[in-house]
Amino acid sequence: MEKITFQVAPGEAVGIIGPNGAGKTTLLKAILGLVRPRQGKIDLMGHPQPYPPGVQKKIGYLPQQPRFERHFPFLSSDVVATGLLTPSSLLRPLSSRQRARAMEALTAVGMGNQGDTPFSRLSGGEQQRVLLARALVRKPELLLLDEPSSGLDFTGRVNFFKLLQQIQQECRLTVLLVSHDLPAVARFAPTLIAINRIKHLHGSAREVLQDHRLADLYRRRFSSPNREEPALG
């Protein structure tokens, strides 16, 4: 990816869209520090990478279609509790206060009565809510979501985004959301960033979706990232 520059204000919800292979997931992973950029820099809350532990703790992450074993022997509350682990928690057992926080996070996503339910017994939509609770359990200021509605049916998608919007507004969360689901992203995020390796559009959801260059960006999905082309945004 090249020439992708943007800023996100605290409390802003931003959708990142683009064709397959555009680099949306890579962008989120670069923000998280899982992928190191060869050039350029990423600042988070005023800190460059590698972020200090205090900043790292303020990031919540919901990965794309986690490839966990279907029958993994975890209860919903166990899944959420894994979100509390940090390098500084090594060698220390989870406290009862942390367990209570896991239950609070489950309650916040409407799954408070499912803490003792095996994770494998939940529906896809319910599992996604539990994974959202895991992303929220550290009370993050920035939430990164990678295709959170993939694998959900229409009702599941609608309910998930409704819940996300409610949590984002209540907690004044900054959200970066990657999704293929353009109508859902546009409804959720007032600001959109469309990328395809070297170019991007950045603006309000209405502006970006009505921009004629968006279709061009999706058409040129296989263009070489090394070719010099004028940036769109």
Binding site: L34, P63, P73, D78, T82, P87, L91
Partner: protein
């Protein structure tokens, strides 16, 4: 039964069974959850190269075999990550290479090596106090590692990418687990032999996984199956002319088969 317990070799064998049963069942918990069953088979077979080296050079085969087992485990982790190859592909290569080295070595040095057969097929009844201490030391180290990092190992077994995003030292923890598997394989070789040890790394936790929905009960069932199979196998081999290793694996396999009849 009182007669059986009156023999020192039987007391040692039963104690070794409890140690190996506990060790293998605990390690099998992560082998099954992390889908490393083939790695267990690979390590145990690759260790043959080290065992052969020990046998022909006169060095304790448990030490040379253990070195090969740990090197295979670490090599699998390092090569698969560095070379971007699936773990099972790397295991397949190291497994065959270790075995080929062992076969070549044994064939080159003509001789009769009874200790080789004892490690290949296991002979728990012949375990001496030095081997028992070795087993105790390795069991303590492996179980301590798993106890200390249990929640982190569990988290990365569930979702490795998320564990990385949380900042956990995923590569170091995974490598530690692979070394633990390598040590477990070679320590258990005395009990059931390197050819059957992989069963101890799979069946206890697989049975626990079948019968429970929570990791605590899965681990408890795995420990029960591992110890029951171990002690049952030794007792069976005392009364009937069945090698202890084969008896242990057959008892565990029977328990697993019984678990298939239970509806989840």
């Amino acid at each position: 039964m009182a007669e059986l317990l009156s023999y020192l070799f039987m007391q040692r064998a039963l104690l070794a069974c409890l140690l190996v049963g506990t060790l293998c069942s605990t390690v099998s918990f992560f082998v099954v959850l992390r889908r490393l069953s083939f790695l267990g088979i690979g390590i145990s077979h690759a260790a043959l190269g080290g065992i052969a080296l020990g046998v022909v050079t006169g060095i304790d085969p448990i030490i040379t075999g253990g070195t090969f087992a740990v090197a295979t485990a670490m090599g699998t982790g390092i090569i698969s990550r560095g070379g971007r190859l699936p773990e099972d592909t790397v295991t397949g290569i190291l497994y065959a290479t270790g075995m080929a080295f062992g076969i070549a070595l044994i064939s080159s040095f003509h001789g009769y090596y009874p200790e080789l057969f004892s490690i290949l097929f296991g002979n728990i009844l012949a375990i001496d106090s030095r081997e028992l201490w070795q087993l105790l030391a390795v069991s303590a180290a492996v179980l301590l590692y798993i106890y200390l990092f249990f929640k982190e190992l569990l988290a990365l077994s569930f979702d490795e990418e998320m564990a990385r995003a949380l900042g956990l030292p995923v590569d170091a923890l995974s490598l530690g687990l692979l070394i633990a598997i390598g040590l477990t394989v070679i320590c258990s070789a005395r009990l059931v032999g390197t050819l059957l040890v992989s069963a101890l790394l799979v069946i206890p936790a697989a049975t626990g996984h079948r019968l429970s929905r929570h990791f605590r009960s899965m681990l408890a069932i795995a420990l029960l199956v591992g110890n029951l199979g171990g002690i049952g196998g030794v007792i069976l081999s005392y009364y009937y002319p069945v090698p202890s290793g084969a008896a242990i694996v057959l008892i565990m396999a029977a328990i697993f088969a019984g678990s298939l009849a239970v509806k989840r």
